[in-house]
Assembly symmetry: C2
Homo-oligomer: 343 residues x 2
Amino acid sequence: MITVALDAMGSDLGPGPLVKGAAELTREDRDLAVLLVGDEPTLSKHLAEQRYDPAKLAVVHAESVVNMDMKPAEALDAAPNCSVLVAARLVRDGEAGALVSSGNTGAVILAAARTFERLPGIRRTAMAAVYPTERTHGPRKDPFALMLDVGATLNCTAEDLVGFAVMGTAYSRIISDIGRPRVALLSNGTEPNKGTPAIVEAHKILMELDSVEFAGNVEGLDIPRGTVDVVVCEGFLGNVVLKMLEGVSEVVADLAKDAYARKFLWRMGLTMLSKGLREIRTMTDWKQYGGAPVLGFDHVVIKAHGRSNHRAIRNALIVAAKAVEKDLSGEIRRALPTPPDAS
Amino acid sequence: MITVALDAMGSDLGPGPLVKGAAELTREDRDLAVLLVGDEPTLSKHLAEQRYDPAKLAVVHAESVVNMDMKPAEALDAAPNCSVLVAARLVRDGEAGALVSSGNTGAVILAAARTFERLPGIRRTAMAAVYPTERTHGPRKDPFALMLDVGATLNCTAEDLVGFAVMGTAYSRIISDIGRPRVALLSNGTEPNKGTPAIVEAHKILMELDSVEFAGNVEGLDIPRGTVDVVVCEGFLGNVVLKMLEGVSEVVADLAKDAYARKFLWRMGLTMLSKGLREIRTMTDWKQYGGAPVLGFDHVVIKAHGRSNHRAIRNALIVAAKAVEKDLSGEIRRALPTPPDAS
């Protein structure tokens, strides 16, 4: 049985969807238990409205919560027993195998940094995100690719980017079942000499690294096309790119909103067009699928979107358990290049 | 009469669309003349197929051409009389007021750098590009905003970013007739302390600069929404963002390709949906509208897309003439902050 600690407070939609997602999951035929961490009276009240398997679910009290608008460092300093820190300590102490939170992103990363160890050879952690692509990926033909870092580390050295490539490879192997995921550096041209000095240097290192299936540089054009399985970039760029994809989805979604028109298309047999519009809608919902892993710690951390519904929470818990079961941290450790100062 | 020097060689589609665009323009009621620069026999042959006003059009011979796949510095060194350098010298020597080229981007920027002077206070030049947005801008309700730099200067100092803000303001005032265009820095958060050190410092300078209507930082989400009229960022980021928008347009355009379905929608009276699909198609054609100015020189330079059709060339020539007529360079010069070392 794998146990996941779920920080059940601090999400944009309140604890309701988190409790519901966890409760429903316990009724599925899975070796997966959940510790709901947060204000005990509140969580018990929400739980009373759900059917669940009590053998697979328990509430762990935490006396306070970090809200979305708080500054992470100040909030954690002021509340050492807030739900995200209590949940992280449950993982550190072996009570749970992974941490899932849909709260304040900065606070989740900082709580992990203060509670867990970084993997040897990883100087900076990365947050990875899946995003929709035209091409499909892996044996399940997922219409998604992985991008990292999307905001944990603003400026990166060549070694940081190499670490991200290794971590993205491991995560993609484990979660998407892609044997040798193709990994590329995001740059302003495909030639090896294109990009910032850190990108040019990372390109050289990755060319020699057997544990990564390195496809060279890709350009902005390749992001929506989905040319590779894993796109590596520094956190500042990844943040802008990811938010831009959200913005594009919002704008395009306006087109697909007219339910009458879509129904009419079906009736008229214009299924292709109607399907296309539905696909755009699905793409605009991509934030709801699972969560974003924070990679580089010795424990699994998944940050679910702040507006996750109960289905997204369920998916994030399943992804977290899969990462534990398949030993994500060990996979990353084995694929890292030997650091120069250790040779 | 304003004269524009058009580098008529080196485009992806050959000189045909360039000659046609220039020829048709001379038959319009405009005070605009064109010098077609390139291989005289080739251009004359193309001209023979067009109707044009010979009082407004002349061919200037250039003995060689820089192709798209050449390295700019090597190509210009090897061919001092290539069409883009000959065209630039016509501008420097007062024979023409502006340079337009749809050839090798790096060669156009380098030819300008070797032939023109940079404006006082401008350390690095910037290439600006219009891109489609949800919101409209200015008195003509243009569904476009301006972004710079999109690739001329990879890494920027705070002063470079401030210069880009000033140049973007001037260009937007002159070309889009926006009195006080709203300008923002692209960052990973709206707070003044978000972003790289150069962005944080540029934010402080722009807050104090009266000649720029500074709206603070915007995020990736704001790019497709079109929250501001001018988005300022370093060239590496702008390059990735712009190419990603092209990629998104391509992917979305697949939906709108089914002409039968669109026609059917019209017949069925589903005009709203049909119009939406048409708008997506128009957005995917945005590269065809005018060209990208290279800003920071003492002369007007417009880089048209390498796949420009004759209509796009015509538009680029008109934009170039408008920039000369309204004194773009003077507008930029007057709006620049006094450099610290000159005070």
